[in-house]
């Protein structure tokens, strides 16, 4: 697949993050603030994205012999629910609230030329490496 096409897909994703409010930390915390002044709109982001991804992954992708521009589908094989998965998710959720960013919005916010977005991405890369060093995947 051409670099241009991948960039366009990334741009589509990034624009979606901005329009949906995912790059607005106050909005994220408002969504996660279920016991306070809850702002439920972000549920519509996932609902809208799933409205496309669910039918695609359930009905269309299984019938495709291969992706259009590559030799094979690369799908996660793990099925085990373990402490690594859930512990990682707990840590991620806390980091999401504390910073106000999950990975995509953090990277997308670099486009705002916000110094703290650069700082977030740098810290996230260090976090990736810490996980690699101290808890390498088997």
């Amino acid at each position: 697949m051409s670099a241009l096409l991948v960039t366009v897909l990334g741009a589509m994703f990034g624009a979606g993050l901005v329009l949906s409010g995912m790059t607005d930390p106050a909005y994220i915390r408002g969504f996660l603030d279920v016991t306070g002044d809850w702002r439920p709109e972000l549920a519509f982001v996932m609902a809208a994205a799933l409205a496309l991804s669910l039918p695609f992954f359930q009905l269309i992708q299984p019938k495709m012999a291969k992706p259009i521009f590559s030799a094979q589908f690369s799908l996660p094989l793990a099925t085990q629910v373990d402490a690594r998965l859930l512990g990682g998710a707990v840590i991620f959720g806390v980091g999401w609230t504390v910073s106000g960013y999950c990975p995509g919005p953090g990277v997308a916010s670099v486009a705002y030329l916000e110094p703290k977005a650069f700082g977030f991405v740098a810290a996230m890369l260090v976090g990736f490496k810490i996980a690699d060093w101290f808890a390498p995947a088997k």
Partner: protein, 142 residues
């Protein structure tokens, strides 16, 4: 509970559809999961066959830049302190690497695939995020 009105909800839904469409096309065309934590990891640390991830990451910034340049979106306020950004970023990196994904890979693609791992991971990080909001308010950070 504050509901921001139908115009805002329309934007939110359009945003979600764009995220979903990009994810579907990345799988249909390239055969890859649009999981941003994994894509950023590969773009940063894996070369060779994973070079396509660099272009996707570039696009993640080009899309917002176009929206801002054309006035279709405004730069949101950021109230997180540097300490929150750096500690939070570190935790996001550690957590998504251990947990094999983030909001996009688990929340959109994984749930779309009906993966039990992704469903449980998504419920877990949303719950821990909600608890963290409570904790931050308790210590006066919100």
């Amino acid at each position: 509970m504050t509901f921001l009105g139908s115009r805002r909800v329309t934007q939110v839904i359009i945003g979600g559809l764009l995220i979903g469409l990009s994810s579907v096309l990345l799988m249909a065309l390239q055969g890859r999961i649009a999981g941003i934590s994994s894509i950023v990891y590969r773009a940063s640390f894996v070369r060779g066959s994973e070079n396509w991830t660099l272009w996707f990451v570039l696009g993640l910034m080009v899309g917002p830049a176009i929206l801002i340049a054309t006035g279709l979106a405004a730069v949101p306020a950021l109230e997180s302190s540097w300490l929150q950004i750096l500690i939070g970023g570190l935790l996001v990196g550690i957590g998504t690497k251990l947990g094999s994904g983030c909001t996009s890979g688990h929340g959109v693609c994984g749930i779309g695939r009906g993966s039990l791992r992704s469903i449980l991971a998504t419920v877990t990080f949303m719950a821990s995020g909600a608890v963290a909001v409570l904790a931050m308010r308790w210590v006066g950070l919100l």
